[in-house]
């Protein structure tokens, strides 16, 4: 009986924590959207964040997107060679990368790299009273810290995704042309033929929402930071884990929706 009550108590606390998280994140989202349209507009801060989130993620996005394209082509080649249909490798690589792997892998990289940095940076500002200092200087921390990150993340994720898509397809191209000896022109023409506007569009819509998730979750956990350096570490870890879970959940949701809207 005692252990049953303990279990129910734990379960109740977890449920309350979940409600607290959902409420807090919804509140942050609404306030961030409100302040996005509320002057002053911080163009310089948005560009700085765009550089950190986008430009500085380029090397790691390039490397991983290339690997994804190469792996996808090699794995598909095993099956396609058995079926004698190597020509389809190009279209499988293109569709898999553009519709799914490009947006998701890019979002996971940015969440792990730039999202973690956002939480750690703002979390440290909270610990060292810099966020309190902003308030005393009559500056809204949400407008000063969250809005530029939110806009930059939403702007850069689709751009990085387009870039990752191209690099991923190049990875597949390298394997097909130099290993499987499919002609370069044929690979390019099959890829272009396979890709429809809706494939690119759905991938980009997803990446836009992934950008929102990364910025909001990272900032949410940053503002909850307490307890010194250990607290910053805890907040950063939570923000990365929750971002990953929400990105994949949102991907599942969007893929299902798009499946029915654009079958």
């Amino acid at each position: 009986m005692k252990s049953c009550l303990y279990f129910l108590n734990k379960l109740g606390n977890r449920f309350l924590a979940l409600l607290y998280f959902i409420g807090g994140l919804a509140d942050l989202t609404l306030h961030t959207i409100f302040f996005t349209f509320y002057p002053p507009f911080k163009k310089r801060a948005i560009l700085e964040q765009a550089e950190r989130i986008g430009y500085k993620s380029l090397p790691i996005v390039s490397l991983l997107a290339l690997f994804i394209g190469v792996i996808l082509a090699l794995q598909t080649a095993v099956l396609m060679q058995r079926l004698g249909s190597e020509m389809y490798i190009a279209s499988i690589v293109a569709l898999s990368v553009v519709r799914e792997l490009g947006p998701v892998i890019t979002a996971l990289i940015v969440a792990g790299r730039a999202g973690a940095a956002m939480t750690a940076e703002i979390g440290s500002m909270i610990i060292t009273e810099q966020v309190d200092a902003l308030r005393t200087l009559a500056v809204n921390p949400l407008q000063y810290l969250v809005v530029p990150r939110f806009l930059a993340s939403m702007l850069m994720l689709p751009i990085l995704t387009i870039y990752a898509n191209v690099i991923g397809i190049v990875g597949g191209y390298l394997i097909c042309v130099y290993k499987l000896y499919i002609s370069s022109n044929m690979y390019i023409s099959i890829t272009l033929e396979a890709l429809k506007f809706k494939d690119i569009f759905t991938g980009l819509v997803k990446s836009l929402f992934f950008g929102m998730i990364i910025a909001l979750v990272s900032c949410f956990y940053a503002f909850k930071t307490e307890g010194g350096a250990e607290g910053v570490g805890r907040a950063t870890r939570s923000s990365v884990v929750v971002s990953f879970v929400l990105i994949l959940s949102a991907d599942c949701l969007f893929t299902s929706i798009f499946y029915f809207i654009f079958p």
Binding site: P40, S124, M125, T128, E129, Q130, D132, A133, R135, T136, L137, A138, V139
Partner: protein, 250 residues
């Protein structure tokens, strides 16, 4: 200028402020003394509107800031500046950007005008040639001076200092005390200084108030406090480990 009435604040079950009342007159330097963790910094954060009280009122120029919305607090905050214990300088900005932060955020001054104002504020705190330094390159004493420069750059009517001499060597501490006194005389600001450094308190205060168990238990001029007959105040100002204040009391 500032009137605090019956201020109460608890964090979870810990009662930090328990019906605190205090008045600070215009142009006065009031030093609030008390043990570490007794709620001095919490009191300052209430005055600047960062923390909302559970009960009580804070009147700044007859406007109760506990009853107004966050958006309305902006005009009140523009009259005040706070110097945080660790400086709270923005890590990602240079010294010049930190000091000129308010001018850049709230006014339409040109870069040249802002730089002139920054240089003037830095020379008032006797720091020249550090405009392009990052906060990480500064010593503890320099950080406190830059924080004071950032505070005075906005020409406030009220300056709140949170432990201005904590964590610096005695010579730097004395120079910060002199600086606070000089700024008070020069800018005619109302100052509230929170400290447990009695040397600093005697040096800069017009009046000293002691915070104990969430209330002000004694108030007077530095001479009156030095000659107190109150056993608690006597124990604190003389730094005695024996007396009515127990180790666990805040």
């Amino acid at each position: 200028m500032i009137r605090i009435e019956g201020l109460c604040k608890s964090f979870n079950s810990l009662k930090v402020l328990d019906g605190l009342s205090l008045e600070i007159k215009e142009g006065e330097t009031k030093v609030i003394i008390g043990r570490s963790g007794c709620g001095k910094s919490v009191l300052l954060k209430h005055i600047v509107g960062i923390i909302k009280p559970d009960k009580g009122s804070i009147f700044i120029e007859d406007k109760d800031i506990t009853k107004i919305k966050e958006s309305q607090l902006k005009s009140v905050r523009m009259k005040m500046a706070m110097v945080f214990q660790g400086g709270a300088l923005f890590d990602s900005l240079t010294v010049a950007e930190n000091v000129g932060f308010v001018l850049r955020e709230h006014y339409h001054f040109s870069d040249k005008e802002i730089l002139e104002a920054v240089k003037e504020a830095l020379s008032m705190v006797e720091l020249d040639g550090v405009e392009e330094f990052m906060p990480v390159q500064l010593s503890g004493g320099m950080k406190k001076r830059v924080a004071i420069a950032r505070a005075i750059c906005m020409r406030p009517k009220i300056i709140l200092y949170d432990e201005p001499t904590t964590g610096v060597d005695p010579i730097t501490a004395d120079s910060i005390n002199t600086l606070i006194r000089n700024l008070h005389d020069r800018l005619k600001v109302t100052s509230i200084v929170v400290t447990h450094d009695m040397k600093s308190a005697y040096r800069i205060a017009d009046r000293i108030a002691m915070l104990y168990k969430g209330r002000i238990i004694a108030e007077g001029t530095p001479e009156e406090i030095q000659n107190t007959s109150d056993a608690i105040v006597y124990q604190f100002i003389n730094g005695l480990s024996w007396g009515p204040i127990k180790k666990e009391d805040l």
